[in-house]
Amino acid sequence: MVNKAAYRRDRHTSAARRPYARQTWAIPALFAINAAFAALCTTPAAADPAPARVVSINLCTDQLAMLLAAPGQLVSVSDLATDIRSSSMVDQAAAYPANHGGAEEVFLLHPDLVLAGTYTTLGSVDMLRRLGVRVVQVPPVNALDQVPEQIIAVGQALGREDAARKLVAEFQAGLAALAVDLPPATAALYFPNGYTTGKGTLADDVLTRTGFANVGATAGLTGGGTLPLERLVLAEPQVVVTSTPYPGASRAEEILSHPALAEIRKKAGISAASDADWVCGTPYILRAVAGMRQAREALK
């Protein structure tokens, strides 16, 4: 999940163009960088007057900005915001001109604020900063508890603290309403190339909160990594969450139709697909939580 999420959030990072090339090393790095940027990015925003022309070049800030911005304040969102596989707000995003995250293209939109992810191409961000554009970088979210901070951070950058607080309240109420009080059942997240996610990931948190024990975490993974198919099979998960294959063929995704996995899924009886709602730390993650809660209750 995280590989796909990070891939989508920061598609403009060259390493992130390789969905699996980065899976093993990028995730631990992500945590280190998060910590540094979280402190750095949030505080100064409040002091500035509300920006008038905001451009978002990151899938997750796209969605938060669309939820929080005043009418006319948001000028452009990234092209991923209109990708049905990545974005929970495809319809809303269609109303905005799309950008592809290039420094030149973004600069010509004359923004006074650019919202980016911490993995967005450093070249673009540096260039925009040299050109005098204010860039706020928002780190990826790795737990449901971090979602409010994320909302507040973007709200402050936009000068829309009130809207942000309202959204946070709604989110927290929604999360509380979805609380599950059931003993943990086993669930596995399984993606192309045998990629899975362990502790310290948003997807793991979604499973934990909905009464599941994540096989990836049990296997000792922190962040993302590969789990050999035979270890997945031996873990006998009760629910397997996979992704919907992309059009066109790939060997990476062939593993999702492997007979052994099909057998496991048949036995589990329930299979869920992780979709756009799982990608970002926005209130839409609640839909993922609700889906898994339903799956857990169906297991009873």
Binding site: N193, V233, L234, P247, A249, S250, R251, A260
Partner: protein, 327 residues
């Protein structure tokens, strides 16, 4: 020398067993065997029969195909450098397979995958035989192979880059280097019949290849039907290498190293080299596949990486020797 085939067969059997017993799940010997043969333990049966068995079978078969086709092509061209990977047959087969997958043909008609790879391999064998001429001159052979590999590699990369699937472009290296990770019994059923048919065809060529030791005129005068031999060689190589590449990717150097190592042990007779090279190729690929799992269990290390590490120095050594002979 008579013992060479039984010894190689024993080695292949041991490596096949090792391939079945070594894996990331770390199952015990007893429970592995019980799961495999008696079907005890639901999850373990899945692991043994659906994950490890197809991998071991494909490793054995693909290796045998590569060793055998290398020996057969070398025998026909009388050139120890002829090898499906080096002369572009494998990469052309990969192109055929990639086209079948990316056009969606393989999804609607599974047989399209091995058949397209067969067509790619067949076209390239034909082209190489035409380019290299009857005597299989080393220079023409290698140059034709370089051109063909580069061309089919480039088109494969292009097709994968243009794929709507973001993972496809990342798999160029798979098609160039080969891997047996996560193959299933469906791949076995799809590819093995073609591999068996192709190998059976190639194994009939022994007498003709022996006679070709003395050149085409001498061979023909000894009753070898050369056009027929050529046809069987092309079809056999195309079917077996095509099917192997379609499911395992292009693994290089097996067809170079194995015949080279075994030739002195069979008295250099092409007919005796054929079965020995098949067994030797199977042993080499099984060993390489086991090594990928031992060296980097979580990384899907490509088979071609290991075979090239062993094979490329061999290749240089052969060129060095041929240069001295020609000088």
């Amino acid at each position: 020398m008579k013992l060479i085939l039984p010894l190689l067969a024993l080695l292949v059997a041991l490596l096949f067993a090792a391939s079945l017993l070594i894996g990331p799940a770390g199952l015990g010997l007893g429970e592995s065997l019980r799961a495999l043969f008696r079907g005890e333990g639901e999850a373990m049966v899945l692991v043994m029969r659906e994950i490890r068995l197809p991998r071991a079978i494909l490793g054995l078969m693909a290796g045998a195909v590569l060793g055998l086709s290398g020996a057969a092509m070398q025998g026909y061209l009388r050139n120890p450098l002829a090898e499906p990977g080096l002369i572009g047959v494998s990469s052309s087969a990969a192109l055929g397979a990639v086209l079948a997958l990316q056009t969606g043909l393989a999804a609607t008609l599974p047989l399209a995958l091995p058949l397209a790879a067969l067509a790619g391999a067949g076209a390239s064998v034909l082209l190489v035989l035409v380019m290299a001429g009857p005597r299989g001159g080393a220079l023409a052979l290698i140059l034709a192979g370089i051109a063909l590999s580069a061309l089919s590699g480039a088109v494969t990369s292009l097709v994968l880059n243009l794929s709507p699937n973001p993972f496809a472009a990342m798999e160029i290296v798979h098609w160039m280097m080969g891997s047996l990770a996560d193959r299933s019994m469906s791949h076995v059923w799809l590819a093995v019949p073609f591999m068996v048919a192709g190998m059976a065809a190639l194994l009939t060529l022994g007498r003709g290849l022996d006679a070709l030791t003395l050149g085409e005129d001498a061979a023909q005068s000894m009753g070898v039907n050369l056009p027929r031999l050529r046809l069987v060689l092309i079809l056999g190589t195309a079917a077996s290498v095509g099917a192997a590449v379609a499911v395992a990717g292009a693994v290089g150097f097996v067809g170079l190293v194995v015949p080279h190592l075994l030739r002195p042990l069979v008295g250099a007779r092409p007919s005796r080299l054929l079965p020995a090279a098949a067994l030797g190729g199977a042993a080499m690929l099984l060993a390489a596949d086991i090594a990928t799992r031992l060296i980097a269990p979580d990384r899907d290390l490509k088979l071609g990486v290991l075979t090239a590490l062993v094979g490329a120095p061999f290749f240089l050594h052969l060129i060095w020797r041929m240069r001295r002979v020609e000088a």
